[in-house]
Symmetry: C2
Subunit: 145 residues, 2 copies
DNA sequence: TAAGATTAAATTGCACACAATTTAATTTCA
DNA sequence: TGAAATTAAATTGTGTGCAATTTAATCTTA
């Protein structure tokens, strides 16, 4: 067996596992907000800027309309966001926080700390990992045209 | 806005982005093998040991039968694996590589190197990241009973 | 040993993620 | 200016990932 093909020797599997594990760690806390993890990410972006187009959300989250359109319809059903065609360009759909959507931020503000506590890992170690990952993501993106 | 709620200040988003990015980097190479990324992971595990139960695969890949059963049926349709009930315990399903499944390893052996080249990142840096992630995964798992 | 508990897969249902295509609006430029 | 190109979302279809439930087999133990 080629060593390179061994699961343990590949980077991809730890990254894939950690990503799933983190989402699973979030689940109990996000369940209380009635949000999925990708929905939570969309809300994070909207809490930074309360109105954005579908494209802007997609660019920040690296998601396309095939993923975002149904997700945003679900957030609309929960009355956390509203979806309106732009007046100046009818192709564009503007997503805005509703009052409920804004108020949810209060509850969500406790999530990051809850999560860090639940993972039992030193903040410094998480910070190191974050910087390492961001560094690699930057390099990957540099080499995309 | 709470700083902790800012997307850029959270670890979760870079991990989530990197995991998706890595799967996307694999895609062109795995397309040539007619495998999805999770199917590739299953094949990696089977190339290490040509016969395993669904539970054993699930334990190594952190996947349950709800995910594995349909995935394995697709690998069976492609004639890469066979699925047979255990003779000694009819509850258990044994997954075995077929001849085709074994032969695919030859082609797959080039994938890891192709991937590293396509990412334009130093092997040392990837290795550092891998160790860092595995370390954190270990700690998370320690605190799960 | 027979009822109840446990276990392994399968099934069901929901929500992404992404490729490919479609639809509708806007832009470009010949 | 009007046809062709481009753009933004939506739609369609496939394949995960996971919770919850179901089914069938095996184990436990009173």
């Amino acid at each position: 067996m080629t060593d390179q093909l061994k699961l343990e020797n590949q980077l991809c599997f730890p990254v894939y596992s950690l990503a799933k594990e983190i989402v699973n760690q979030y689940r109990p806390f996000l369940d209380k907000l009635d949000l999925t993890y990708p929905q939570y990410l969309v809300m994070l972006v909207l809490w930074e800027q309360r109105q954005q187009t579908v494209s802007e959300l997609g660019e920040k989250l690296h998601l396309d309309s095939g993923t975002l359109t149904p997700l945003l319809k679900r957030l609309e059903q929960k009355e956390l966001v509203s979806r309106d065609r732009s007046k100046t360009d009818e192709r564009v759909v503007c997503i805005s926080l509703t009052g409920n959507g804004e108020r949810l931020q209060e509850q969500a503000s406790k999530v990051p700390e809850q999560l860090i506590n639940s993972m039992h890992i030193a903040v410094e170690e998480l910070e190191t990992l974050k910087i390492c990952i961001q560094d690699i993501l930057t390099k990957i993106n540099q080499h995309k045209k």
